[in-house]
């Protein structure tokens, strides 16, 4: 039933129009690059160089050794040395420091006597995320310091010494998580935003009436329009991935072909969704706004890109199951960081194809050429 000549005529027409439309070109090629550079630099969940104030009431060799342990950890920078406990309030209030460490006067004495000495860490909890991480680091530093303390001052051995090794993201830098995730988020936004303009534009400019009076079929219009945008989507995936690998040193361990193949399905789905919105809204302004809300926010917040799905409240967690970016995120992170193949991504791959089919079907079904 599909006529190749008509379908390609629509694709060619759409490409020519795109080429002459600066706004679309900007959206198509500049925005993805801009977003990845911006987010790549701006978003980071790494916490280091935590500013710390110290109130050392002991002033012994032991307390200085503990402070050295903090300094050499790389996570804390001691910016203030305090004389009185009253100063702590002021510094935390003003945000001059995030953590204050108090070493009590009997610190060395208690340790030497074989007792358990306590140190106090006061953390600015107004940034809960940083506070939790800072407390975790501080706890670990004190723990490992405690392991080195023995009555005779010689290094001690803990009965069990954990040797941890992190896989896939050895340096635990959040950028390695963010950039592959961004590929998914950006694709969802760009593909849906761009296509959300296409059908609405024909309605707004009145060209739909002339188009509708020709023998062209609905599927030919939808698929013909889809073609150039899917091409743009694949180019964008390449642009964003290359920036990630070469600018941000994100590892790419998997197969380029597999990434492109699954991206193809995902981009078809996202473009179909955009066209569905466009056909329903019939106004470019309304369509882009709906596309923004329907794609950007879920892809950003509920896909597991920004927040881990496991810790979301149950109702939100349920919603994430219908967010395509959630599955594509697993694909991009898996291929970038773990180098996994089709055996691991079977389910996600299947879901990408389902998304593509649903996207195209929805757009074709809702698109009416009837003028009213």
């Amino acid at each position: 039933m599909l006529n190749r000549t008509r379908l390609l005529a629509v694709a060619r027409k759409e490409t020519t129009q795109l080429r002459r439309d600066a706004r679309s070109l900007y959206l198509a090629f500049l925005l993805p690059a801009l977003l990845v550079v911006l987010f790549g630099y701006a978003i980071s969940w790494d916490v280091d160089d935590i500013r710390m104030a110290v109130l050392d009431e002991d002033g012994s060799a032991r307390s200085r050794a503990l402070l050295d342990a903090f300094r050499s950890s790389g996570y804390f920078t001691i910016t203030r040395t305090l004389e009185r406990p009253a100063d702590i309030d002021r510094l935390l209030d003003r945000g001059t420091v995030s953590v204050a460490l108090v070493i009590p006067p009997d610190f060395a004495e208690t340790l030497d006597a074989g007792g358990t000495a306590a140190v106090q860490a006061i953390v600015d909890g107004s940034d809960a995320n940083t506070a939790t991480i800072a407390l975790g680091y501080a706890g670990a530093i004190v723990q490992s310091f405690a392991g080195t303390v023995r009555l005779d001052g010689a290094p001690a051995r803990l009965p069990i010494e954990p040797r941890t090794r992190v896989w896939y993201n050895e340096e635990l830098t959040s950028r390695n998580m963010i950039v592959p995730g961004l590929v998914a988020v950006i694709m969802m936004i760009i593909a849906a935003m761009l296509t959300s303009l296409t059908i609405a534009r024909e309605w707004e400019r009145g060209t739909m009436e002339q188009l509708a009076a020709t023998p062209i079929g609905r599927a030919e219009v939808v698929l013909g329009k889809l073609l150039p945008y899917v091409g743009i989507g694949l180019v964008d995936i390449a642009i964003v991935s290359l920036i990630g690998v070469f600018l941000f040193d994100v590892p790419f361990r998997g197969s380029v072909a597999l990434l492109m193949l699954l991206s193809l399905a995902f981009v078809i789905g996202a473009s179909g969704l955009g066209m569905f919105i466009s056909a329903v809204a019939r106004s470019q302004l309304l369509a882009t706004q709906i596309a923004m809300i329907a794609t950007f926010l879920p892809a950003f917040l509920l896909s597991g890109f920004m927040y881990a799905i496991d810790v979301m409240p149950a109702p939100l967690r349920v919603i994430t199951y219908v967010i395509p970016a959630r599955y594509f995120l697993v694909v991009t992170r898996g291929i970038f960081l773990k180098g996994v193949g089709p055996d691991v991504l079977r389910v996600q791959g299947l879901l990408m194809i389902v998304f593509a089919v649903v996207g195209i079907t929805a757009a074709t079904r809702v698109f009416r050429k009837e003028i009213d």
Binding site: N3, R6, A9, T16, G206, T207, E209, P215
Partner: protein, 317 residues
């Protein structure tokens, strides 16, 4: 209601289209013969565009039946679209494509075979006088040229029936008459033309006219037949002040209607001799000088005004 011969190109039987409570087209029936130039006349909002959209397969009728080029309006819209050309009321080609790109696009959509596309393109460029402008963006062309291009794009596939919805609205009179030359040329080649207009002088070009008002077909005949059926004599009265004159004649016995036609009055009367005697005195009494009075052939506009009045209502405007 005779067709010009051959099988009818368009048949409408009781076509009705509602939008909610509003009846845009109300039980409209007619036939258009092959090769005929069929004019659809009426004020804005009369239902002309809705009728043309039903006939072009853009809109389904709420009730009624019909065929276009032998294909059913309900079930054969795809086949209808292959057999017709359509030029919509507003210019609706792609402004951001060049003249040639628009032609190439529509010739592919209409399924013009590859080998024939160049021939048809050159024909359209020649016909519309756009050969020099082929690489210009369509949006930059003057309206008259755009209309000719739209006409060209609508006949790329040489359809037997052409639908034109107010093709010349907003176009200057010279371009308008050039456009009608093209329509005549197409009709000479056997194309059936279905054209809506609200320009009365264009209506004179049509073989037959259908008059529509408030969704209903109120008359259907040749221009000559319509004028002949007009019972009320019309007097053309030349006066010094037409608006004032029309006002002065409003409640005069024997005067059915006084309408301004530019700087003269067209007065529909019950009795010519009586009116000839009474009118000058009445006008002079109101300070309006009469410079001439004579009976004329009713124009189509007079006919239309009279028909709408006979239906018991003012034309929708």
């Amino acid at each position: 209601m005779t067709a010009r011969g051959g099988a009818p190109a368009v048949v409408a039987e009781g076509l009705t289209r509602r939008f909610g409570d509003f009846v845009a087209v109300d039980h409209v029936s007619f036939e258009v013969g092959g090769g005929e130039i069929f004019g659809f006349l009426g004020p804005n909002g009369a239902g002309k565009t809705t009728t043309i959209r039903i006939l072009t397969g853009l809109l389904l009728p709420t009730s009624g039946r019909g065929t276009v080029a032998g294909h059913d309006l309900m079930t054969g819209t795809r086949a209808i679209k292959r057999s017709i050309g359509y030029m919509s009321q507003l210019f609706s080609l792609y402004g951001d494509l060049t003249v040639e790109e628009n032609i190439a696009f529509f010739s592919r959509l209409y399924g013009v075979p590859g080998a024939r596309r160049a021939v048809r393109r050159d024909w359209v460029l020649e016909m519309a006088g756009l050969a020099e402008q082929r690489d210009r963006l369509t949006a930059e062309l003057p309206l008259g040229w755009k209309q000719r291009l739209a006409l060209g794009c609508a006949v790329l596939h040489e359809p037997p029936i052409l639908f034109l919805d107010e093709p010349t609205s907003g176009v200057d009179p010279i371009s308008r008459s050039a456009f009608w030359d093209l329509i005549y040329a197409l009709a000479d080649q056997g194309t059936t033309i279905f054209v809506t207009t609200h320009y009365m002088e264009e209506a004179e070009y049509c073989h037959r006219l259908a008059l529509m008002n408030r969704g209903k077909l109120i008359a259907l005949d040749t221009p000559r037949g319509l004028r002949a059926a007009m019972r009320e004599p019309i007097l053309e009265v030349r006066v010094s002040d037409a608006p004032r004159g029309a006002e002065a004649l409003m409640a005069v016995p024997g005067v059915i209607e006084a309408a301004m036609f530019g700087r003269v009055l067209h007065v529909a009367v019950t009795d010519v001799a009586g009116a000839r005697a009474a009118l000058p005195a009445r006008l002079t009494a109101h300070g309006v000088t009469v410079t001439g009075i004579e009976q004329i052939e009713p124009s189509l506009e007079d006919v239309f005004v009279a028909l709408v009045r006979a239906e018991g209502g003012a034309p929708v405007d």
